[in-house]
């Protein structure tokens, strides 16, 4: 029994040694390589169930090898195990590709939304700018029309004023003809100056108007009443250089005031007329001759256009 058992064990040992020494089939080697590759790939995370199936299949092939090395069963099971490992990797690659595709599509949609929002934002800005430009253009058009209207009005007013001025000058010229012997009339820009000879108005050294002067001044007053609208009237008294400055200044002021008072009494608007004394300060001729001094003794009535 012991001998038999020993012999049996020895035979079995020889048989085992023979099995271990027999190399695996090419199919089993390929299956091992394929499974190793599957284990190291993303299949373990993405397709763990299929990797497990490949493992089970490989174990069966290994057992078949252990039972009978190089047997048809070993080769057959190894073939199936290799295919299962390859299938697990193919499935993992598909899953990975589908996830990448889903992610790309998600990003694409997100990008589209962003672009749409950007486009809308740009369109809004463009619309606002267009609206502003339109408003500016409308304002500019309105301003231009207003300016044109204002210019037309101004031109019309100027024409009317020139017409009025022309008519006034004609009337003034006509009226002044009546007092030509009493006075001298000059027109300077917007001012008309009527110069009255002092000798005709006052006695020497006096500031009371002579009766004959009053008659002439009545004509002047009539003219001034016609032309006083829009004009101020300044009556300036002037003397020659005989006597002191102070005396002459006072005399010229008194004479100017006498003329103003008379003109007011004849209806000239008191709010538009005033008297100024210039004394001997503004001679128009030499004070060295009697003729010159006579010319310097004068009253000037200045009509100033204030419109």
């Amino acid at each position: 029994m012991n001998k038999l058992s020993l012999a049996t064990l020895t035979l079995a040992g020889i048989g085992l040694t023979g099995c271990a020494a027999t190399p695996p089939s090419q199919q089993l080697l390929s299956a091992r390589d394929a499974f190793r590759e599957a284990e190291q790939s993303t299949a373990t995370q993405l397709e763990p169930e299929h990797v497990q199936r490949a493992k089970v299949a490989l174990n069966k092939a290994e057992m078949a090898h252990d039972d009978e090395p190089q047997s048809e069963q070993e080769k057959h099971l190894a073939y199936l195990a290799e295919r299962k490992a390859q299938l697990a990797m193919a499935l993992a690659e598909r899953t990975s590709a589908e996830r990448a595709k889903a992610q790309a599509e998600k990003e694409y949609k997100s990008l589209l939304v962003d672009q749409k929002q950007n486009a809308e934002a740009r369109a809004n800005v463009a619309n606002r700018e267009a609206d502003a430009a339109e408003r500016n253009a409308a304002a500019a058009r309105s301003d231009a029309q207003k300016n044109a209207a204002e210019l037309a009005t101004e031109r019309q007013a100027r024409m009317e004023a020139e017409k009025k001025l022309s008519a006034a000058r004609e009337r003034l010229t006509s009226a002044l003809d009546k007092i030509a012997d009493l006075s001298q009339v000059e027109t300077k820009d917007r001012e008309v100056v009527i110069t009255l000879n002092g000798a005709v108005l006052f006695e020497v050294g006096k500031s009371k108007l002579m009766p004959s002067a009053q008659e002439k001044l009545r004509e002047v007053a009539a003219v001034l009443k016609q032309e006083q609208d829009g004009r101020s009237i300044v009556v300036e008294g002037h003397t020659d250089s005989q006597g002191t400055d102070q005396y002459n200044l006072q005399l010229s002021k008194s004479r100017a005031q006498a003329v103003v008072d008379y003109l007011i009494s004849q209806g000239v608007d008191r709010n538009r007329i005033k008297a100024v004394g210039r004394g001997e300060a503004e001679p128009t001729a030499s004070n060295q001759t009697p003729e010159g001094r006579a010319n310097n003794r004068r009253v000037e009535i200045h009509l100033r256009d204030e419109s």
């Binding site: 598909r94 694409y108 950007n118």
Partner: protein, 85 residues
């Protein structure tokens, strides 16, 4: 499924067909077990061919989606530059 247009899938499809032929031959000879083994292999290769074809298709679609995304991104960049100028 397009297995014939994917080289690796086409190869396994060919294997599957060969195994089918072998299975038929074994069946004709009334060799049951070899016939079943051939059928198992045919099924394994057919499954793998199908999955390789699907995987290739999925990879093509993923690349296309990525390409479209990049194209869109590139155009967005160009339009943005035009808009800013």
């Amino acid at each position: 499924m397009g297995a014939r247009t994917v080289p690796q899938a086409a190869l396994h499809l060919e294997y599957a067909q060969q195994h089918m032929t072998q299975a038929k031959e074994h069946m004709a000879e009334e060799e049951g077990e070899p016939a079943l083994h051939a059928l198992d292999k045919a099924e394994a290769d057919a499954n793998l061919a199908l999955e390789l074809a699907r995987s290739a298709q999925a990879q093509t679609e993923a690349q296309e989606a990525l390409r479209e995304g990049n194209e869109l991104r590139k155009n967005a960049s160009v339009y943005s530059q035009i808009g800013d100028s």
